[in-house]
């Protein structure tokens, strides 16, 4: 009986938009990007750690560090995650925009919105787990009640037969 309940629940869960990847995407589309800062290159100052000298073929250095400063606010981010300089330049811009978003928009920032969404999702998950656990406990209690009543019944028939 419980198996049937679980199977139905599973089917329902799969079908529910809340739980599919599409739903997750739909969730993120609920995030307000309108305040997310657009970086103006003219307001940025970029610095690189590079070997001295002519560069290019004449130099073999791992130079991949980027330091990006937002001049109006003085915010600086450094990035050397990737071994590619251009990837780090791109990543530095993402990071800077995110930091600016936090600094300027606080609770309305994209990161804060994402955190709230994640919290909601976790709470929903917790709720589902609790419900599942309650159903299981209920079934166990039912089973043990049935078992004890059946046992009592067979005792009586045994007595009757002998």
């Amino acid at each position: 009986m419980l198996g049937g309940v679980l199977r139905t629940a599973a089917v329902l869960l799969r079908a529910t938009p809340r739980c599919t990847a599409a739903a997750r995407l739909a969730g993120t589309q609920g995030i307000d990007w309108s305040r997310f800062p657009q970086l103006d290159e003219r307001e940025l100052e970029e610095r690189f750690v590079r070997g001295g000298g002519p560069g290019g073929q004449s130099v073999n250095k791992t130079a991949n560090c980027v330091s990006l400063k937002h001049i109006p606010t003085g915010l600086v981010v450094k990035c050397h995650e990737s071994r590619s300089l251009e990837v780090n330049r791109r990543q530095a811009r993402h990071l800077l925009a995110e930091r600016l978003d936090r600094a300027l928009n606080g609770d309305a920032s994209v990161a804060a919105q994402r955190e709230r969404e994640e919290q909601l999702r976790r709470q929903r998950g917790d709720l589902q787990r609790r419900r599942r656990r309650d159903r299981k406990d209920q079934w166990r209690r039912q089973r043990s009640a049935e078992a004890s009543s059946e046992g009592a019944h067979s005792d009586r028939t045994g007595v009757d037969n002998t």
Partner: protein
Amino acid sequence: MQFFSSVFSLEAGSKVGQDMHSLKFSTILRKLEACQPHPNWVLSLVIHRKVHAVGNTIDELLQHWKSVFVGAEISEPEASIQHLMGASLQCSTGDLRHMGNAVLTAQQLRDLERRCLCRLQRMPVQYIVGEWEFCDVTVSVRPPVLVPRPETERLALLAADRLRPLAAAGERSPRLLEVGCGSGVITLAVLHWLKQVSAVAVDPSEAACLLTEENAARLGVSERLHVHRAALTDAGLPCIEGQRFDMVVSNPPYVPTADLRRLQPEILLYEDRAALDGGRDGLALVRRLLRRSAGWLRPGGRLLLELGLGQPETVVALLSEPGTGLTRPQVHRDFTGRERFVEAQREQERGREDPFDSSVVS
């Protein structure tokens, strides 16, 4: 720590530093010399180990090897050990920051030491790691094929930028020719970004051709790339006779011969000198490219070149002379803000389209 274990008869994983203090300096030196290590770094290694206890955590090893590299006058000592450690642990250098107290296994220690010994022999970090990122692609790198330089990333971005409208228009598949492909990074980055582009890459080095093909397979773009082993001579490139391209891109050897001897040991000892030597003024290959490119390009097709400092000005002057078939020269800067790249377009004249008449433009 196999090497040190054998020298000091220590069990793997024990704290080397503590035992070092109990040995006399002369004894240590004698034992090390018996193993015939590189003389340059022995002293710095010994002195450092005598003074500092070295454990097996990431932070301790980073600090230790950085000091060794500094003592041996290895360039980029801190970045070097970061990259080598990342390679040994198969993680990014960023991850290392959060793992400072993690202890390396005996195997990881051996692996790290092997890499560090290579670095002490001035092997470029990229060769020791065996692979490197170039824009959004990861490629294998192997001596003596030239290690991709960070400046060249912008060349690849420019090339993709110019080909993108053609690719989007969708009328036909844009064709790219790279002369002197090396490890293949420029072409491979473009093929990775623009799925409609097909390319031909040539290089006189067998090792470079093999590496480019290997990297193409690694990136899943082999079907759109033909690699030819060919040198650009005064006769041009016979292997692409009759073919036309929307773009010719090249990072040709551009270092003047006389400047070669001043380069870092990393370059001189491990990288293919033929990939660097541009002749007396560094422009020998560039001149050949300027003579030949219009014959390879469709009308309106572009030539994109990476050059050495001071050369873009000369090249623009060469392009203004009649007869190259190339027009509208532009100069682009690299990430340091210095003039590094030249772009030119093939003239739109119909008359030059005869595929058997490439000698007209030479």
